[in-house]
């Protein structure tokens, strides 16, 4: 039979856990409010940056500008066919756990994006961002390319990585698109990992990818809950520098998009290169051309980093709000569960106590009867 003292101790420890989870819930709640506030304050800025970007790129379309970050689709595909450089991914997760499945969801999505196998579902197709169609169109263009002869491992890797770019299309293209492009899952291959570089935000992301042997060129810890613009800028500077030097040819951002206090989902977006084909003339929405002061190239040199930093910062804010809302939900669930457990243990405790009393009475009555 269960020992009364033992049960009492258990009830006490569950109650203590409940106190902790409750406190964590409240902390997450107040931080979440701050994070949501920060996110909402950022929204108009992001929207305006995007608007301007659209108009500028809409005008650039079809014109010949020599700029390292802006490419036509044809150039891009030619470059990837050559296997010219590495792919860089920026993964934003959390520093701490105890946030339900927040980290594991975003890390899973990161693997899906990084190690594209041509079958995974895309989460980004429906979203409104001007960059999202990038994947799809690239894939459509690639469908026309037949693998030519025997490939070196590096080229193969590039082909499969290119498949990664084309991810969203599998969604629509279905089986036939998979047969046309070699998108074999090669991520167990050390060679494949070699062609990938990572920037991680959050301890969880860093340890996860470090264990799996990925090459992390930079990681940021301690900022996941309260991101600052200067870190986004730092990441942008690093990315721009590596991109400009030609070491990397594609930059993708993976983060968790905040939708509401009870819903968030991982999302990915291609930051670089910017492909002019994706911007329609209509989105320019201007009767006359811009006057650029001083001139278009030097202006874009400054504007592009800002646009990318804005996107990264926005993603960090989304991720922070998502993390805290996940933690809030996880902790309030834990508190509720603890409450339920205490109730059940109390019932059990009382049953055991009564059984003991009944037993004692029986013994006393039995003993009295025996004496008569």
């Amino acid at each position: 039979m269960a020992n009364l003292q033992h049960i009492r101790r258990r009830i006490k420890s569950v109650k203590n856990i409940q106190k902790i989870t409750n406190a964590m819930d409240m902390i997450a709640r107040s931080r979440f409010n701050a994070a949501r506030e920060a996110l909402l304050s950022n929204v108009p800025y992001v929207a305006k940056t995007k608007e301007i970007m659209r108009r500028v790129m809409g005008q650039m379309r079809g014109q010949e500008y020599e700029h390292p970050f802006i490419k036509t689709r044809a150039d891009l595909i030619a470059e990837q066919q050559e296997g010219a450089g590495k792919f860089l991914f920026i993964v934003i997760a959390s520093d701490k756990g105890l946030a339900g499945s927040f980290s594991s969801n975003v890390l899973k999505a990161a693997h899906d994006t990084i190690e594209y196998d041509g079958t995974s579902e895309s989460s980004s197709l429906d979203s409104d961002d001007d960059d999202e169609n990038f994947h799809k169109k690239n894939f459509d263009a690639l469908k026309g390319i037949k693998p030519a002869g025997k490939r070196t491992p590096k080229q193969q890797r590039q082909m499969s990585a290119t498949g990664g770019i084309a991810r969203s299309a599998a969604h629509q293209g279905g089986a036939d698109s998979r047969t046309n492009v070699s998108v074999a899952r090669e991520y167990h291959d050390a060679d494949y990992i070699e062609g990938i570089e990572l920037i991680t935000v959050g301890r969880k992301a860093t340890t996860h990818f470090k264990q799996r042997g990925y090459n992390i060129i930079k990681s940021y810890h301690g900022i996941s809950e309260r991101p600052q613009y200067k870190y986004a800028k730092e990441i942008t500077d690093l990315v721009m520098e590596r991109f400009a030097s030609g070491e990397i040819i594609d930059v993708t951002l993976i983060y968790t998009q905040f939708k509401s206090a009870i819903s968030c989902a991982p999302d990915d977006v291609t930051l670089l290169p910017i492909v002019t084909d994706d911007y329609t003339k209509a989105s320019a929405n201007l009767k006359e051309e811009y006057i650029y002061e001083p001139d278009v190239v030097s202006l874009l040199d400054k504007f592009m980093p800002r646009r990318i930093a804005t996107r990264i910062y926005g993603a960090m804010l989304h991720s922070a709000a998502s993390e805290l809302s996940s933690r809030m939900n996880a902790m309030s669930n834990a508190t509720d569960n603890a409450q339920e457990l205490v109730g059940r243990l109390n019932l059990f405790y009382n049953k055991v106590r009564q059984a003991g009393i009944t037993n004692e009475i029986n013994e006393i009555v039995g003993g009295a009867n025996a004496l008569e």
Partner: protein, 136 residues
């Protein structure tokens, strides 16, 4: 009188300013610019300065720490790193930033330091100008 919509947004504070105005006097990397309604499309980079906004009620100043400006005939959009109205500016902080920057410039260490100090000096100056405080 014709008006043009001015919108100023920053990454941290959202939309800082949004109003129909008569004229905007601002400073880009190419020099001072006056923007009136129905201006041609323009895209340019702004330097840290005290922006002057002419409204029906008079003139207000706004501190801009640098950023980008897009002008269309109906609307001016400014994307700034930071933008502050006179009431939001901390005079003491701007003054001490001004002194610090000046000291750093006097020392003349490396190239990078000078660039940063010069930018800090420009920002502090613009802040004090918006506030209407004489520069020390």
């Amino acid at each position: 009188m014709a008006t043009i919509l001015l919108e100023v947004a920053t990454p941290d504070k959202g939309e800082v300013y949004s109003k129909d105005i008569n004229m905007l006097i601002t400073r880009s990397i190419c020099g001072e610019l006056g923007i009136l309604p129905k201006h041609a499309n323009l895209l340019t980079e702004l330097i840290p300065h005290a922006m002057r906004i002419k409204e029906t009620g008079g003139e207000t100043k706004l501190f801009i720490s640098g950023g980008f400006m897009e002008v269309t005939p109906e609307k001016i959009t400014i994307l700034a790193d930071a933008a502050e109205a006179p009431d939001d500016i901390d005079v003491e902080r701007a003054k001490s930033a001004y002194k610090r920057a000046e000291e750093r410039l006097a020392k003349k260490d490396s190239d990078l330091d000078i660039d940063r100090a010069e930018a800090a000096l420009a920002r502090a100056k613009a802040r004090l100008l918006v506030k209407g405080v004489p520069i020390p």
